[in-house]
């Protein structure tokens, strides 16, 4: 009996479990709702109402303006005003076209005069916000307005910069001056000395000059022409002085390193800016003189003193000639042997360096790099007279490619020194830095700072692992030279090992792998690590690529060349997913964007069933990812809790939808100051083709695909509309471990550089 009861209980539990499982299953996979089966509706869009009197007048006004019939245009504008007055009298809303009519009338005078009419337009209180922004933009982008704005910004910038330059070191001095008085005082003094120095022709002033010139070219006989020309000339003179100063600075630096060709170019350029500059003239003359001397030296070095040495005894001449013949063609070892024999037989002393040069061919013939270098180093002889053969040995030793190992070792040594110096001396590693103040004073101010730098050695030791990859560039260049010149060289193992380590430190795993594989006994474990990291890098790089075809190429590289790495599996899955998901276009509108703009998905556009965007999941809902345009007129709808649906929109509706979408973007751009133009040529080309009805074939090229995303306002900017602070000041708290400095101070927010500042730098 007990057993029966137990069985019954078991059956009950099993039944309950199966019911629960069914319920869970149903919750996870509910049946699709009608709108999800058929997400597009075939309803037609209602026709637009016929135009009213004001709209007809506006059309006639536009035609009159285009045909340059100003009288008719004014009459139509007056007609719109009358119509609005009548509507007002009837208690109706105005047509909203009067502001557009005013703008059209202002446009009659052409773009040059529009900026002047803009002020009258902006005085109107009935301007549409988008129209107001456009007119303001036209007014503010007129040449004289831009010039005035830039010059005002420059004044604000200089005043703000002086304040900021003074307040920051003063704050450091006040707060932590007692802790590190030397550095704090040095910072304060040097800043105070340079606080008033600015470039004499800043990018803003150069832009102002450009705008003045633009205005003068457009208005050569305008009333204010003389004044504007004077302002432009003043700025031009400043710019010439600035350019000449910069060129002369470069010319002087080139003269210090005796690079006379560069001095010639830069000093000539400075003279073109300031034709009477005495310094530039003097430097140019010096450059010409030194260049002439260099040419004379080069010519002299190409001469030869004698066919054969005059000191040769008659019995030595035949031997000398035989050696010359051998040197011209015989194998290197034979040449070296003959040279040694000649030296042993008592060749004239001035021939000794040449004979030693020839003797160095013996280790060269054996391929003994080190012995060749030693033999070449033995060539010079200090016997008082200028020795011309040893200079050839010197040239061979100085060649970083031919004498690659010595240069590699020198680069290693220089790198070690640089690292030690950085650890010990920090930013003094390359001597006292050059600032903008008088050099002797700068040195005096800098000397005490060395003590602080020495005290902060522990900090740099901690930072060293992260800073290590910044070093070793010269070793890599020299090592690669050796590896290329001597693939089977005596030191290849050492060089490959060093390069492998340096590249690995820099996370350049392809190069590290190349050198690891080139070693005599490749380390399988390290090679596997490099391969794995390289595969990871390629997969990560693939994700950053905009074009699908490039992404696929990266993934294919992993699958083809690194199939045994852990990342290969990930790459395989991504490759399959990318291929399966490939589409000519990938322009996406999010769910919230569509909700924000119902016209885009209503009848006559995308025609999506309204249930899918009413926020109720019970009757089906488009997911957050929204709707994607896949190319031609194909769209994909992401659905909450269901597989996406791919469908086609009727071509006419799709073209209408695209036109609405572009209009929506433009409207946003015109009204919202936060919106920035987002150039996307592939997207625009697709939209142009769609509007022209060219939907027969999709462009399969990767470069033709756009991945543009349209998001709602709150997705882009959040729900709270942030405002610029009223006061142009930030409160800054900053510290510096190396100098043990801490400061807190108000910093004036400086004007941002103009969007096209790059063109004036």
């Amino acid at each position: 009996m007990k057993k029966k009861c137990r069985n019954r209980r078991r059956l009950g539990v099993a039944f309950l479990c199966s019911v629960a499982l069914c319920a869970a299953g149903c919750a996870a996979h509910r049946a699709p709702k009608p709108a999800e089966w058929s997400p597009l509706e075939s309803a037609r869009a209602p026709h637009d109402p016929l135009p009213d009197d004001a709209e007809r007048s506006a059309a006639r006004l536009a035609a009159a303006v285009l045909a340059d019939r100003r009288g008719d245009a004014r009459a139509e504008a007056a007609s719109i005003d009358r119509e609005d007055a009548a509507r007002e009298a009837r208690g109706e809303k105005p047509s909203g076209l009067a502001d557009n009519a005013a703008e059209l009338l202002a446009a009659c005078d052409g773009s040059d005069a529009f900026a002047e009419d803009a002020d009258d337009l902006l005085d109107r209180d009935d301007l549409d916000p988008a129209l107001r922004r456009r007119v303001e933009h036209a007014r503010d982008s007129a040449p004289l307005a831009v010039a005035d704005t830039r010059l005002a910004e420059e004044t604000r910038y200089k005043l703000g910069a002086i304040f900021n330059r003074i307040i920051e070191p003063a704050s450091t001095l006040a707060m932590t001056g007692a802790l590190n008085p030397i550095t704090a005082a040095r910072g304060a003094i040097s800043t105070l000395l340079t606080a008033w120095t600015f470039p004499s022709a800043s990018p803003r002033e150069r832009e102002a000059l450009h705008e003045y010139d633009e205005w003068l070219a457009r208005h050569p006989e305008a009333p204010g022409e003389r004044e504007i020309r004077a302002r432009a000339d003043e700025l031009r003179a400043k710019l010439a002085r600035e350019r000449a100063t910069r060129d002369m600075r470069g010319a002087q630096a080139a003269a210090d390193r005796r690079d006379w060709e560069v001095v010639d170019i830069l000093a000539s350029r400075a003279l073109r800016q300031l034709p009477d500059d005495a310094d530039a003239k003097a430097l140019l003359a010096k450059a010409h003189e030194e260049s002439a001397k260099e040419s004379a030296r080069d010519r002299a070095s190409l001469g030869v003193r004698a066919l054969a040495p005059a000191s040769l005894a008659p019995e030595q001449e035949a031997r000398w000639l035989a050696l010359a013949r051998a040197a011209a063609n015989a194998p290197l070892a034979q040449v070296a042997g003959q040279a040694r024999a000649f030296a042993d037989a008592g060749a004239p002393p001035e021939l000794a360096p040449t004979l030693r040069l020839l003797e160095s061919y013996e280790p060269l013939a054996r391929g003994d790099e080190d012995e060749t270098a030693r033999a070449l180093a033995r060539v010079p002889e200090h016997h008082g007279a200028p020795d011309t053969a040893s200079r050839q040995a010197g040239a061979a030793l100085a060649d970083p490619s031919r004498n690659a190992y010595a240069h590699f070792r020198a680069a290693e040594s220089a790198d070690d020194t640089a690292r030690w110096k950085w650890l010990a001396l920090g930013h003094f590693a390359n001597g006292f830095p050059h600032g903008t103040i008088w050099r002797p004073l700068e040195l005096v101010l800098d000397v005490p700072g060395v003590a602080t730098t020495l005290a902060t050695i522990p900090f740099r030791i901690v930072q060293y692992p992260a800073a290590r990859p910044q070093f070793g560039g010269g070793v890599i260049v020299a090592g690669e030279r050796y590896a290329a010149r001597h693939p089977d060289g005596a030191h290849r193992e050492e060089v490959h090992a060093e390069l492998e380590e340096l590249y690995a430190q820099r996370n350049e795993y392809a190069a590290a792998l190349r050198h690891a594989e080139a070693r005599a006994e490749p380390n399988a474990k390290e090679i596997a690590q490099y391969r794995a990291k390289l595969a990871d890098q390629l997969v990560a790089a693939a994700e950053k690529q905009r074009r699908t075809d490039v992404r696929l190429a990266y993934l294919a590289m992993v699958l083809r060349d690194l199939p045994d790495t852990p990342a290969a599996d990930k790459a395989r899955k991504k490759f399959i997913a990318e291929r399966a998901d490939a589409s000519p276009q990938r322009i996406r509108m999010t769910h919230d964007f569509l909700v924000e703009h119902p016209a885009l998905w209503g009848p006559g556009a995308l025609g999506i069933a309204p249930e899918l965007l009413d926020g109720k999941r019970a009757n089906g809902e488009i997911a957050e990812d929204g709707v994607t345009l896949l190319g031609k007129n194909v769209i994909r709808l992401e659905l909450e809790g269901h597989e996406p649906v791919t469908t086609r929109v009727p071509p006419d509706d799709f073209a209408h939808f695209v036109a609405l979408l572009e209009e929506t973007s433009r409207s946003h751009l015109a009204r919202d100051a936060r919106e920035k133009a987002d150039p996307d040529a592939a997207r625009d080309a697709f939209f142009d083709d769609t509007k022209l009805g060219m939907l027969d074939s999709a462009d399969p090229r990767g470069s033709a695909r756009s991945d543009a995303v349209y998001e709602s306002t709150h997705e882009k900017y959040g729900f709270v509309h942030s405002r610029d602070p009223i006061l142009p000041v930030d409160i800054v708290l900053q510290g510096d471990l190396e100098s043990l400095g801490l400061s807190a101070f108000p910093r004036i927010r400086l004007p941002e550089p103009a969007p096209d500042a790059l063109l004036y730098e």
Binding site: S301, V304, R305, A327, R391
Partner: protein, 310 residues
């Protein structure tokens, strides 16, 4: 010591000091080379250099070592016409000049010098005959086309193919000798010239654009071991950039016919290759590529802005 003697001693000391202070010994780089043997010794050091993969060595004066050697040998010949004319060291001088000339691409002149040495009673006559044979073949294979303008692109391509065939045969014949580097350089020079020909022809005949690109890519692929590999990549990037500019000229970005994808296909390849070269540490082309990339990006921005006005 008498006062006169003291004055004389002081004057002598002064003169000695002045002599020590003035006229420091000349820098050896400024001085003429000692004699023929030194010139030949330096030249011999570089006869076996692989000038296809690595840049030619520089002389102490900074000049190409073969050019400097040739200049010095010319100087000697001009300065000692009688001695050289008498047969003293003539074989060495002419043979060395031939060796220098063949590295400078002057195969006709090298042939002439080898021929003259081969007619002398010298142990250099036999190697000179070998040099003559190789340089003669090089001269024939690289002789300039007398009818370049009249030929169709196909005829030009056939001519380059024929030239390449001759040089490849020669390369296998001189496989173990120093001339193999000279032949490889000539093969490269020919490939580059052919690519440049098609690049210029494509400006006139757009049908040849694909051929021009294929030839430029081939130069990069075939000569990836060359010392000029970065230069070849720059040439390919320049061609892509030029094709994009040409496309934008023929189809202005503001026109409805402008296809951004076509422009981008060229532009992306150009920028990618410029970027690769701009990352080659230690090469001169790095600077050129970095500046070209910057300039080209400026151009690309302009095109995109014209297409999508802000």
């Amino acid at each position: 010591m008498t006062p006169r003697g003291a004055r004389a001693a002081v004057a002598l000391l002064g003169a000695l000091l002045a002599a020590c202070a003035s006229a420091p010994p000349s820098d050896p780089t400024d001085l003429p080379t000692q004699d023929l043997l030194e010139v030949v010794a330096v030249l011999r050091l570089h006869v076996d250099d692989d000038t296809y993969r690595f840049p030619p060595a520089r002389d102490i004066s900074g000049l190409n070592v073969y050019r400097a050697a040739f200049e010095r040998l010319e100087t000697l010949e001009a300065a000692h016409p009688d001695k050289v004319g008498s047969g003293y060291a003539t074989d060495v001088l002419w043979f060395s000049k031939a060796r220098a000339l063949e590295r400078l691409g002057e195969y006709e002149l090298a042939t002439l010098h080898y021929e003259r040495v081969s007619q002398l009673d010298s142990e250099l006559a036999e190697p000179a005959r070998r040099g003559y044979a190789v340089c003669r073949r090089l001269a024939l294979a690289t002789a300039p086309d007398k009818l370049p303008v009249e030929r169709t692109p196909q005829q030009v391509a056939d001519r380059w193919t024929e030239r390449r065939k001759q040089l490849e045969e020669l390369r296998s014949d001189v496989a173990g000798e120093h001339w193999r580097y000279v032949v490889e350089e000539e093969l490269e020079r020919g490939d580059v010239a052919e690519a440049a020909y098609f690049a210029s022809q494509a400006a006139i005949e757009p049908k040849l654009e694909a051929t021009a690109l294929q030839r430029a890519q081939q130069v990069v692929e075939v000569h990836r071991e060359s010392k000029y590999k970065n230069r070849h990549m720059l040439a390919l990037a320049d061609l892509y950039a030029e094709l994009s500019r040409r496309y934008a000229r023929n189809t202005p970005p503001t026109s409805l016919a402008f296809d951004p994808a076509t422009f981008d296909e060229y532009a992306e390849d150009a920028t990618r290759i410029y970027e690769i070269v701009a990352q080659q540490d230690g090469s001169v082309e790095k600077l050129e590529a970095a500046h070209k990339l910057e300039a080209y990006l400026g151009y690309m921005l302009q095109v995109h802005e014209e297409k999508v006005p802000q």
